[in-house]
Symmetry: C2
């Protein structure tokens, strides 16, 4: 059985100096360069594979400082502070001598506490009752790596410049082919939403995420319960102002567990 393309993408080679070597994945290519979600997952992977890691991911912030070039990169992950049950990480992705991405992460050993989802999963059609797109013509390879079933707020069918008044998207998503959910794939899925500004305004707009933060509410048990099931993703923009808009998003599993809340700020030119 061949390896899942996501496992190939997040495979890193440990180096003698403690850094990791990685490669952008053609299977997760975007229009230009790699899909940012996969790059975020690769940065997290440098923590997950680190011999000094304590606990599981709770928070990850990745900053897209410059375009990642197709090819090799180096990841340097450093535990900036290790406490009894929490650990803070700083991570850099380098190509040549240039810093291309920066990141910080928090890992922690969780304990059982009172817990609740305050934000329930919206009532939407089941994945099975939500149609696949009639055609999957997106030119970017990474789109083929995800099974996307849009409930509402899909990519505009025509660039008619209309303002929909809402950037809300709800969609079901899972890896294609299906793959048991883990922290790395959850990081990648956190960036699955197409740019809010094209949902809001059906107008071609150059965009690029500049910073993304992921809060993992899922622990290992929740990942195992989710398995290869679908996630419901919801995303909306709150403010669009002079070149930057934000996105606030959530990912639930089919059972309604809120696995991730995530936010990003995106450059746009219009």
């Amino acid at each position: 059985m061949s390896q899942h393309p996501f496992d190939t993408a997040v495979a890193l080679q440990g180096q003698a100096d403690g850094s990791f070597l990685g490669q952008t994945s053609p299977a997760y290519a975007n229009m230009v360069g790699p899909f940012g979600g996969t790059t975020a997952a690769q940065m997290l992977q440098a923590v997950l594979l680190h011999p000094e890691r304590l606990g599981d991911p709770v928070a990850l912030t990745v900053n897209f400082c410059a375009a990642v070039a197709d090819g090799a990169f180096t990841l340097q992950a450093r535990p900036a502070r290790t406490n009894r049950s929490t650990q803070h990480w700083t991570i850099e992705l380098l190509q040549g001598d240039e810093v291309v991405m920066t990141a910080t992460a928090l890992t922690a050993v969780r304990r059982d506490t009172w817990s609740t989802n305050e934000l329930p999963m919206p009532a939407v059609s089941t994945p099975q009752d939500t149609p696949l797109p009639a055609q999957r013509s997106a030119p970017m390879a990474f789109v083929q790596r995800y099974e996307l079933r849009v409930v509402q707020g899909g990519f505009p069918l025509a660039w008619d410049g209309s303002d929909s008044g809402s950037s809300l998207t709800q969609l079901w998503v899972r890896d294609n082919p299906p793959r048991p959910l883990d922290f790395a794939s959850l990081a990648s899925l956190s960036d699955i939403f197409f740019p809010r500004i094209v949902v809001r305004r059906a107008s071609p707009t150059p965009v690029g995420t500049v910073s993304m933060t992921i809060y993992f509410h899922a622990d290992a048990a929740a990942l195992a319960r989710t398995g290869t099931g679908y996630l419901l993703g919801q995303a909306r923009g709150q403010a669009f102002h002079n070149g930057f808009f934000d996105q606030t998003a959530q990912l639930w599993n089919e059972a309604g567990e809120l696995l991730v809340t995530t936010h990003q700020v995106v450059y746009y030119k219009q």
Copy 2:
């Protein structure tokens, strides 16, 4: 005329090696150590005062790695990547040889674009029609530095352990005494909300913010329009799970401009 206590708090002394020296401010003391919002503002200030800074803040993520001890600290801000109109920063706060906080920031030169608030300010009573608390007995000094008028979701009046089912807070807030809004004070105000879990459950709970991200939608013109006016803050938790909950929050000015969207993840023990 004496200096505003916030200006005293964020005053930093540049060092020959490019770092900055700062001090925790007794005027912004929390129960133990300093108010985290003020510490976040001090970290941002190391970027704002840096001679190589390009543009104004767009994003800031601060990680509270360990308790900040009352007293002096060193701030090291480094431009990790400078592009034509954007700049990515990494920042560390040190006490002795220990990393106590890490942060990343994005500054940018903004351009006029199509802009909108997709999330309108909620319809609430005006600041003038929203009463001040009957007594301001909070033992923490920093609470006295803010004029807080709670619309809904205030600090519980009694620890009766009831579950309100909602962690939503809406409040008007400004510096006390009033001070013209700037990026540093906006960063501090982004952390003004009391812990979501005590709004949700009226039960004493040890908590501590571990990571906070701020997206600045306000530019210098919006700050000037806001001046010393009130901000409407809204905050809610989305998920509370095994030791960590999140908070998603917004700050609007009285004119309804969405100045900040901000998120944090908070450790809790219960």
